[in-house]
C-alpha cells in the first residue's frame, strides 16, 4: 500500500471543512487543529508495523467508530447538497451510494483510492489558489489585515444588505449596537430584549419589508429559512465583534484550555494510529506527506481568506460556508461557478476516497472471522446507518468526527499500543469502549464545557492501562 492510499481514511471532507470552519470562526484551537491534521497521520505512517494481530471482537467493538467517521463525512456531502439546492434525502442516498463504490471496484486494487484522494486534495488546493489570486494577497497578509480590523461590519455589497439572506438553521443573533433588521419574508420573529437585568421575550409578526429595531444587548431568534436584511456599516451580529477578537480569541481558563488541547491531541493522534496503515514502501513516499500537508493548509487558508474577504458569512455559518460561499464573492462572475464546481468535485473525490479507506479498515477488522461476505455486510450496515443519520439529523460534523476519533483511540489505538497479547487487547478494547460511552454520557450531562475531546483523555488511558495489566496476568 502506498503512503497516499494509507492516508485516504484521514483525508475526508469532514476534516477539510472543519479545519476551514475553525480558522474562519477564529477558534482558539484552530492553529493546533491544523498542526494535528498534518502531524497525526504522519506519525501513524512512520510506525514500523500495525502492531498486534486482530481478533474477532475487533470488528464488533471498533466498527461503530468507523461508522461515526463515515457519518461525519456524509454530513458534509448533505450540507454541500443543501447549498446547491439538492434535497436532503437525495443527498443522503447519494452519499450512501458513493460509500458503497469500494464494494464494487475495491477488490482489484486498493491503491486507486489514493489517486482519487490526491485528485481531491489537488482540486481543493487549486481552488484556494484561484481564490487567493482573485483576492490578490498571500494568506499571511490576509490574516494580518483581517486581524487588524477594529470592527467587523456589513459593507454595502454584502448579500445580507442588498437582497437579504436566509439562515440554514435556527440561530440567535446578539446585537451590540442599535440595528434595524428588515424582514424580507413574512413570518414570526422572536425578539429577546434586555431591560436592565431582566430579559423579555416578544414575538413580532412581520410582513415582507417591515423592520424591527434592536438595541445593544438585544437578541433576535431567526428560524431556519427566515430571510432578513441588515444595515450597511453596522457590526455583524455574532461572537466575533472585531478582527482583534478573531485573531486573539478569548481562551477559556488556561488549565482547562491545556486539558482540552491535550485531549484533542490524544483523540486525533490515537485515531490516526487506528486508521492509517504504516507505510512499508518507498513508492510515492513523497506524495502522501505532501498531500496531507496541502490538505490541512488549504483548509486553514480557506478560513483565513473567508474572514478577510467576507466576514459577513459568519452569520449563521455552517461547516461549508467558507469553502463554498466565498468564491462567488471574490472571483469574477464568470469564473465563480467553475471554482464552486471544482471544490464540489474535490469534496466528492475526498468523500469517495475516505470511504474506500474506511472500508479497507473495516475489511481488515473482519479478517479474523474468516467468513466470506461478512466484511461487505458490516460495511453495508455502517453505510446505511451513516446515510440514515445524515438524512435525519444535522449535528455539528466536528463533534461527530471527534466522537469517532475518540472511540477509535479508546478501542483500537490505546490497547494496540499497550500490548500485542490478543486476550489482553480484547479486554482493553471492551474497557475502552465501556468507559468511552459512560464518560460521554456523564460529561454530556454534568460537564459539557469540557468538550468531546476529554472523553478519549479518560477512556484511552483506561484502555491502555487495562490492556497492560491484563497482559501481565494472562
Amino acid at each position: 500500500m502506498t503512503a497516499l492510499a494509507a492516508l485516504t481514511p484521514w483525508l475526508g471532507p469532514a476534516l477539510l471543512a472543519c479545519v476551514a470552519a475553525h480558522a474562519f470562526s477564529g477558534d482558539a484551537d484552530a492553529p493546533v487543529i491544523v498542526l494535528l491534521a498534518v502531524a497525526a497521520p504522519l506519525l501513524a505512517l512512520l510506525r514500523r508495523s500495525h502492531g498486534a494481530s486482530l481478533d474477532r471482537s475487533s470488528l464488533i467493538i471498533a466498527g461503530p467508530g468507523l461508522a461515526l467517521l463515515l457519518w461525519a463525512n456524509a454530513l458534509i456531502l448533505v450540507e454541500l447538497a443543501r447549498l446547491i439546492g439538492i434535497d436532503r434525502a437525495a443527498a443522503a442516498l447519494a452519499a450512501g451510494a458513493l460509500a458503497l463504490i469500494p464494494l464494487v471496484v475495491g477488490g482489484a486494487d486498493d491503491d486507486w483510492s489514493g489517486v482519487i484522494a490526491a485528485c481531491g486534495v489537488a482540486g481543493a488546493a487549486v481552488a484556494i489558489a484561484l481564490v487567493g489570486a482573485a483576492i490578490g494577497l498571500p494568506p499571511w497578509t490576509a490574516w494580518t489585515r483581517a486581524a487588524s480590523r477594529p470592527a467587523l461590519v456589513f459593507n454595502e455589497s454584502s448579500l445580507w444588505v442588498t437582497q437579504g439572506n436566509a439562515l440554514p438553521r435556527s440561530t440567535t443573533l446578539e446585537f451590540t449596537e442599535v440595528h434595524r433588521v428588515t424582514a424580507v419574508t413574512a413570518g414570526t420573529y422572536r425578539l429577546i430584549e434586555r431591560d436592565g437585568g431582566a430579559l423579555a421575550v416578544r414575538e413580532r409578526q412581520l410582513n415582507g419589508g417591515e423592520a424591527l429595531t434592536l438595541r445593544p444587548g438585544d437578541a433576535l431568534l431567526l428560524q431556519a429559512g427566515a430571510r432578513v436584511r441588515f444595515e450597511t456599516g453596522k457590526r455583524i451580529p455574532g461572537p466575533i465583534p472585531s478582527g482583534v477578537s478573531w485573531s486573539q480569541p478569548h481562551a477559556s481558563a488556561r488549565p482547562r484550555a491545556a486539558v482540552r488541547m491535550v485531549g484533542l491531541a490524544v483523540t486525533v493522534i490515537g485515531a490516526a494510529v487506528a486508521l492509517v496503515a504504516p507505510c512499508r514502501t518507498r513508492t510515492l513516499a513523497i506524495g502522501g506527506p505532501l498531500a496531507v500537508l496541502a490538505f490541512a493548509l488549504a483548509g486553514a487558508v480557506w478560513g483565513i481568506y473567508a474572514m478577510y474577504a467576507a466576514p459577513d458569512l459568519s452569520v449563521g455559518a455552517g461547516p461549508l460556508t467558507a469553502l463554498v460561499q466565498l468564491p462567488p464573492l471574490v472571483v469574477e462572475a464568470h469564473w465563480a461557478p467553475s471554482i464552486v464546481i471544482l471544490i464540489g468535485v474535490a469534496l466528492l473525490a475526498l468523500y469517495t476516497a475516505a470511504s474506500c479507506g474506511l472500508w479497507h479498515r473495516m475489511r481488515d477488522l473482519a479478517i479474523p472471522w474468516s467468513r466470506r461476505g461478512l466484511a461487505r455486510l458490516t460495511w453495508g450496515i455502517a453505510v446505511t446507518l451513516a446515510a440514515a443519520a445524515a438524512w435525519s439529523s444535522s449535528p455539528d460534523p466536528w463533534t461527530i468526527l471527534l466522537l469517532g476519533c475518540g472511540f477509535l483511540t479508546s478501542t483500537v489505538a490505546a490497547p494496540a499500543l499497550a500490548s500485542t497479547h490478543p486476550t489482553a487487547r480484547r479486554i482493553g478494547m471492551i474497557a475502552g469502549a465501556t468507559i468511552f460511552v459512560l464518560a460521554a454520557a456523564v460529561l454530556a450531562v454534568r460537564a459539557p464545557a469540557l468538550g468531546v475531546t476529554s472523553i478519549a483523555l479518560i477512556a484511552g488511558p483506561v484502555a491502555w492501562l487495562t490492556t497492560l495489566l491484563m497482559s501481565r496476568r494472562v
Binding site: 512512520l46 514500523r48 499571511w140
Partner: protein, 65 residues
C-alpha cells in the same frame, strides 16, 4: 540505521505537537505575539507542519523496504 530516521521523525513530530500545546496554553499568552503582523501560534501552525512533512518524507525515503 534506517529505523533511527523513523524514530527521529516520530520524536520531532511529537515535539512539534507538544510545542503548539505549550505555546497556546502558556501564561502571558506568548502565542499572541505578532511577527510581521501574524501571531506566533499561526506562524507555528504554518511552518511546523512543513517541517514535519519534510522529516517524514526523509524518514520514509531512507527507511528499509
Amino acid at each position: 540505521m534506517p529505523h533511527a530516521h523513523r524514530a527521529a521523525a516520530v520524536v520531532t513530530l511529537l515535539l512539534l505537537v507538544a510545542g503548539a500545546i505549550l505555546l497556546s496554553a502558556a501564561p502571558r499568552d506568548p502565542a499572541a505575539i505578532r511577527f510581521a503582523g501574524v501571531s506566533l501560534l499561526w506562524w507555528y501552525a504554518g511552518i511546523a507542519p512543513v517541517a514535519g512533512a519534510v522529516m517524514t518524507i526523509a524518514a520514509l525515503l531512507t527507511s528499509r523496504r
